[in-house]
């Protein structure tokens, strides 16, 4: 997770590079928005709210870019900001109301149909859509923390230390949540007896 910085000169160069990257908010959004939006959407299970949180996340990142030390990847930093926003949002009663109402819940079937058209045939596409739907439904049954950590590990491909940093949890807690999440997903997918 940690960017290897051997000399102060390299650290300075890296810092300048990251700061200039963060200065261009258009590039920042185009590069990271799909990942952040996907992560937030499946973490909270609400499309509309996810759009809002994602926008707030980039705005917060841009406004606070001077505080970014560069000791982790930009994506990890963005995910940590998103996590803070998600945590704040989960506490609000408004969110709890809409969660019960499920008015803007993620449409799993719609999402599964977004499978990019590759070389696979119709049967393979159907199978892939079915698996997408199974994973999405399995995610809904996880706790928020389990879901966030699972997504960071298997969708965003962060390692355990990065997940610990992005979520602000001890690494052992991350492992515990991840273990339970993978067990639940495996059961749902039918791999576990």
């Amino acid at each position: 997770m940690q960017i290897a910085i051997d000399t102060p000169m390299m650290a300075q160069g890296r810092q300048v590079s990251i700061l200039s990257e963060l200065d261009d908010i258009d590039s920042l959004v185009s590069l990271y928005r799909p990942r952040v939006l996907r992560y937030v959407t499946f973490s909270i299970g609400d499309q509309d709210l996810a759009e809002t949180i994602t926008q707030d996340c980039f705005l917060k990142a841009y406004n606070g870019r001077a505080s970014f030390r560069g000791d982790c990847a930009v994506s990890t930093w963005l995910f940590s900001i998103a996590n803070n926003l998600i945590r704040d949002q989960l506490r609000t009663k408004k969110f709890q109301f809409w969660r019960k109402a499920k008015a803007t819940a993620v449409d799993v079937h719609e999402m599964a149909s977004f499978l990019p058209s590759g070389a696979s045939g119709p049967e393979a596409r159907l199978l892939a859509q079915e698996r997408t739907r199974q994973v999405a439904e399995a995610l809904e049954e996880l706790s928020v923390n389990q879901r966030k950590i699972f997504l960071l590990r298997f969708s965003e491909e962060l390692d355990l230390a990065e997940i610990a940093e992005a979520t602000g949890m001890p690494i052992n807690t991350v492992k515990t949540h991840l273990h339970r999440a993978v067990t639940a997903i495996r059961t749902r997918l039918g791999g576990k007896a």
């Binding site: 996907r38 959407t41 149909s113």
Partner: protein, 230 residues
């Protein structure tokens, strides 16, 4: 042969993406565990690949809202500080001047003398106010526009809209409104006060203007001699 791989070990392998040395040794011996592991990894991996591909395609398809981020330029910062200071000073003046005006000791006789007004006296008062206005605003165009009789004899009335507009127009406009004799919302529209205390009008104006001048970063120029009749 060592023990078969447990579910927890399988989960660990899925998480870590690699197998422990002990498990590796067992998998070389046990065909069942080897097939089970490969099937498990294939199912989980392909499911996650499909999920990630679909969701990323969906996420990319969502239109990104236009981000309007205000980037403060150096020139903007240069004018912002004086403008903020002027605005704050104008706000202070708007609060202090009316309060001060309300608490002046000559506010009480206004109603008492108001009933004795007639058209001639009002015309005389307005002539006086016009001369004061010319003296205070020799270069102002509105000073030559004539003064209309004021029919309102009640206590001073302050329009919030006018005051807000004064803020927006700048501190200099506030000074003009103090000196304007017959403007619709003028602070000096109450002619009975001027009738009873003609000699104090100019001093009052000067006092107010100098008070505002103390808090506003503008220049006030008073020209001409005191009006005749004092």
């Amino acid at each position: 042969m060592s023990e078969h791989i447990t579910e927890d070990q399988l989960t660990e392998m899925v998480i870590e993406g690699q197998m422990p040395a002990a498990c590796r040794a067992h998998l070389q011996e046990c065909v069942a565990c080897s097939e089970r592991l490969s099937g498990e990894l294939e199912l989980f991996g392909s499911s996650m690949d499909a999920f990630n591909a679909s969701t990323m395609a969906w996420s990319r398809s969502r239109p990104a809202p236009v981000q309007h981020v205000r980037r403060a330029s150096a020139s903007a910062r240069l004018w912002f500080a004086p403008a903020a200071l002027t605005f704050a000073a104008a706000a202070v003046a708007l609060i202090t001047v009316p309060v001060w005006h309300t608490h002046t000791p000559d506010a009480a006789p206004i109603a008492a003398v108001a009933s004795g007004d007639n058209a001639a006296q009002i015309a005389q008062d307005n002539a006086l106010m016009q001369s004061v206005n010319v003296a205070l605003n020799a270069n102002e165009s509105f000073a030559a526009g004539g003064v209309q009789p004021c029919s309102h004899f009640g206590p001073p009335c302050y329009s919030a809209l006018y005051l807000i507009r004064s803020i927006l127009r700048g501190a200099d406009e506030i000074l003009r409104s103090l000196c304007r004799p017959a403007g619709r919302w003028s602070l000096l529209r109450c002619t009975p006060r001027l009738r009873t205390r003609r000699a104090a009008v100019r001093a009052d104006l000067l006092r107010r203007a100098s008070a505002v001048r103390r808090v506003l970063p503008v220049r006030l120029v008073l020209q001409g001699p005191p009006p005749a009749g004092q």
